[in-house]
Amino acid sequence: MNYFVIGYYALLILGSCLAAYFQKRQAFLLLFSLTLASFIMGIVGGEPALWAVTVGAGLLALAGGVAYAFREFLVILLPTESAKAMRTAPLTAGFGLFVIFTYAVAGIFAPIIAPFGEAEIIASSFAPADEVMLLGADQLGRDMFSRIVYGARNTVGLALMATILAFLMGAIAGLLAATKGGKFDQFMGRLADVIMSIPSLIFALLLLSIFGTNIAIIVIIIALIYAPRVFRLARAVAGNVVVMDYIEAARLRGEGMWYLIRKEILPNSTAPLVAEFGLEFCFVFLLVAGLSFLGLGIQPPTADWGSMVRENATLISFGDITPLIPAGAIALLTVAVNFVVDWMLHRSSGLKE
């Protein structure tokens, strides 16, 4: 027993007592179950396990603080209408927005932020971190930090392009199918069924083995694989709108198809489509990362998170966490987008609670 362990339990028990006294039921439950869990973890894992819990709680608190600050920041900056929505947003959504913002800045200003070029060899391979190289060097002696920053541009950029393309194709086809109906609708529906019944990673591998791994080809293939999901959603959402009276009225006025889609259907189906865009981006991003990890995505020397994990994977057997950094970057962005999507879905849909 040392001071850390005593302090740890004292703080937890004090916290739960305070929560119980002030009738904060949820906080009490959380704190007290953490205390009980700590007993077990302390016995099994010893002091390091308790340290891990402390560090975890600290990180969580930090993330919460950042999320809170960023949310308040947005509330002040945004116009009244969206500020109102922002104020009621959960902290997770604030955190998600903050992460997305950070990645966007890193991606857009990559050449300014990164101290070295993405393919520049500046040290011996696997050189450890120092003042110049914040995260050390990779297997060829390139600066890891610079490559991570450039990766924000390359990997996220590619995923974003593919998502936008998939979205355009899927949404347009879906809206058309819902408006037109009939044979076109049937045909597109069956086509989407077939594409969706092949697992996406497998389909991507098949097509990439045939057409090679060129960036344009990757974007088109991924867009093709994910367009059917958007198509289904767009068709379902638009299908609900098409039967409305105001569509009938517009049809009787003699409005054309494009007018109907653009002015009547689209504005009434934006919310679910925007949420779907976020979800779609997550899927595409994970697929892109997976393909690069397998060596079939963006080709070297372009910095890319997936291939960076693969190239530095050997380091993991020496207990070095370098390969986890790009992988963590991928996970963090996907989590962030998911948090935001979760919030938007909650706001826009009738999810039963």
């Binding site: 990673l201 591998l205 098949l206 994970l286 990890f293 994977a313």
Partner: protein, 318 residues
């Protein structure tokens, strides 16, 4: 029961048709190669004569539909042709590896399914509490992480730093069953983490939807005790969605193994596929894709059939 048999048969037929279309896609995709297979595999340096020889050997001079039918007929009997690289029958490479992959998926499923369903139901019952929120954040994080991230974290903490489990899931003949389970624990755990998160969220959503239905409210208003509401009214109606959730996630398990197998150097079909893709060994790529697609469709079919069998309402489509 006649109705049920008819509906199940219809579903089976539909699944077969889908599989047929997919087989055309898989075969046709290779036909789309610029030039043809012989030129693509042999590369730029090949002589005219060499290419012609290859065409002769693979029978590429005959029309595509004929070759497709031959390929399909072979595939049905388990003969997927000859690998371009190793020049041995594809089935020899695929057979044992497919068994390994199935073993890994089954292993993960045995751990994941009970945990996920129990946790999912618990979270649904305690919805909107702190535990629900924590579970929500944790599952979202797990779903959002690429498999290789989870895999390497597990390797770092459970293998390199503590040495509980081996980092490389190498299998050899004559290994005892417990030894195999120990060796393949980390890849299985990686998949469990992802699948449990998915299943928990889906189970939670279905149970919450269910508890919001009018007949549950009616049962409560009648004064039925809480446990009886769950066991008598909610559970019989939740089998169909839960079977659906399980089957969908098993389908994910079978296909999501590719990345996990590469991380842990596990001798499964996923790794074979990735190797074949980089070497452009098309017969193996085609065979793997067909097997993956067939498994995927089969499990989705199982989900449909399971739903029909447990939910009488689905037997009489409007």
């Amino acid at each position: 029961m006649g109705d049920v048999v008819r509906i199940v048969l219809t579903r089976l037929g539909l699944g077969l048709v889908t599989l047929l279309i997919i087989s055309i896609l898989i075969f046709g995709a290779v036909e789309l190669l610029p030039g043809d297979v012989a030129e693509a595999v042999l590369g730029m340096g090949a002589t005219e004569e060499n290419v012609a020889n290859w065409r002769e050997k693979l029978g590429l001079n005959r029309p595509a539909p004929v070759r497709y039918l031959e390929w399909l007929a072979g595939a049905v009997t388990g003969d997927f042709g000859i690998s371009y690289i190793s020049e041995s029958p594809v089935i020899e490479a695929i057979g044992p590896r497919f068994a390994n992959t199935l073993f890994l998926a089954l292993y993960a499923a045995c751990i994941a399914v009970p945990i996920a369903i129990i946790l999912g139901v618990l979270v649904a019952l305690f919805r909107n509490t702190v535990f629900d929120r924590v579970a929500n954040v944790l599952t979202l994080t797990s779903i959002s992480s690429p498999e290789f991230f989870l895999g390497y974290i597990l390797i770092l903490y459970l293998s390199v730093k503590t040495g509980y489990f081996p980092a490389i899931a190498k299998l050899s003949d004559g290994m005892s069953f417990t030894e195999t389970l120990h060796r393949t624990f980390l890849p299985a755990l990686t998949m469990v983490l992802v699948v449990v998160a998915h299943m928990m969220r889906m189970t939670r959503a279905t149970i919450i939807n269910l508890l919001a239905s009018p007949y549950i409210e009616m049962a409560r208003l009648k004064g039925t005790p809480a446990w009886k509401v769950i066991v008598k009214h909610a559970l019989p109606n939740s089998w169909a969605p839960i079977i659906n959730v399980v089957a969908l996630n098993l389908a994910y398990l079978i296909t999501g193994v590719v990345l996990v197998e590469v991380v842990f150097v596990y001798p499964g079909i996923g790794q074979l596929l990735v190797d074949a893709v980089t070497k452009r060994d098309f017969p193996i790529v085609q065979a793997c894709c067909l097997i993956f697609a067939a498994t995927f469709i089969l499990l989705n079919l199982a989900a449909d059939v399971g739903a029909i069998l447990t939910n009488p309402r689905l037997r009489h489509p409007k």
